[in-house]
Assembly symmetry: C2
Homo-oligomer: 104 residues x 2
C-alpha cells in the first residue's frame, strides 16, 4: 500500500484508528476482502493503512453518500460486527472533510 | 501512543502520510522532539501515529488557526525542511474538518 492519489479537494476522509484484541483469528483475510470490496464501491478514492501500537486506516471518498453506502454494504456490515465483537478492543472512526492538501 | 481522546466534533485533523527515504539519520530524535513540542501548542487535541509501508500521523487541532501557528513554529519549520530534503521521499498532508466520530 502506498500514498493515495486523491483528487483536488474537497473530498472526504474516514479515519479509523484501532487497538486490536488478542483474538486475530480471521482478521487478515477479512481485512483483505474489505479492501478489495471498498475499492469497487462508487465514490471510493483511495486508502492508506499502517499499524504500530495502534492501527490507522484512512479511506478517501467522494462524498458523504458514498461513505454511507459503504458503511451499509451487507458484507461490510458483517465485517464491522465481527470486528467490534472480536478483533478490536477499541476503535474510533472519524468522518472528515478534506479541505486542502499538499505533497512532495 | 494510543487512540487520541478528542472532544466532540467539529475539530480539525491533519493527516500526514509519508514514505521514508533510505536516510533516517536523526529522524527518530527529531520526531520525538516534534511530538513533545506539538503537545505544548495552543489548540493541540491529540495525535496518532503508525508505520508499515507508509507512515501515517494524524494530529488533531481545535481550529485552522492553531494548525497554522504550529506549521509556522520556528523549530517545526526546521524539522519540516530537513524532512522534505532528507527523510521523506514522498508525503501528502491533508487538512480536514472532522464532522463526526464514533467509538467502541
Amino acid at each position: 500500500m502506498t500514498i493515495a492519489e486523491t483528487p483536488t479537494p474537497p473530498y472526504y476522509a474516514v479515519i479509523f484508528t484501532s487497538i486490536q484484541s488478542a483474538d486475530t483469528h480471521g482478521y487478515r483475510e477479512m481485512a483483505e476482502q474489505m479492501v478489495a470490496l471498498a475499492e469497487q464501491q462508487p465514490g471510493f478514492l483511495g486508502m492508506e493503512s499502517a499499524r504500530l501500537d495502534v492501527g490507522i486506516t484512512v479511506s478517501y471518498w467522494q462524498d458523504l453518500e458514498s461513505i454511507k453506502q459503504w458503511k451499509n454494504h451487507a458484507e461490510h456490515i458483517t465485517a464491522q460486527a465481527v470486528g467490534k465483537s472480536r478483533w478490536y478492543d477499541h476503535y474510533t472512526t472519524r468522518i472528515a472533510l478534506v479541505e486542502r492538501d499538499y505533497a512532495k
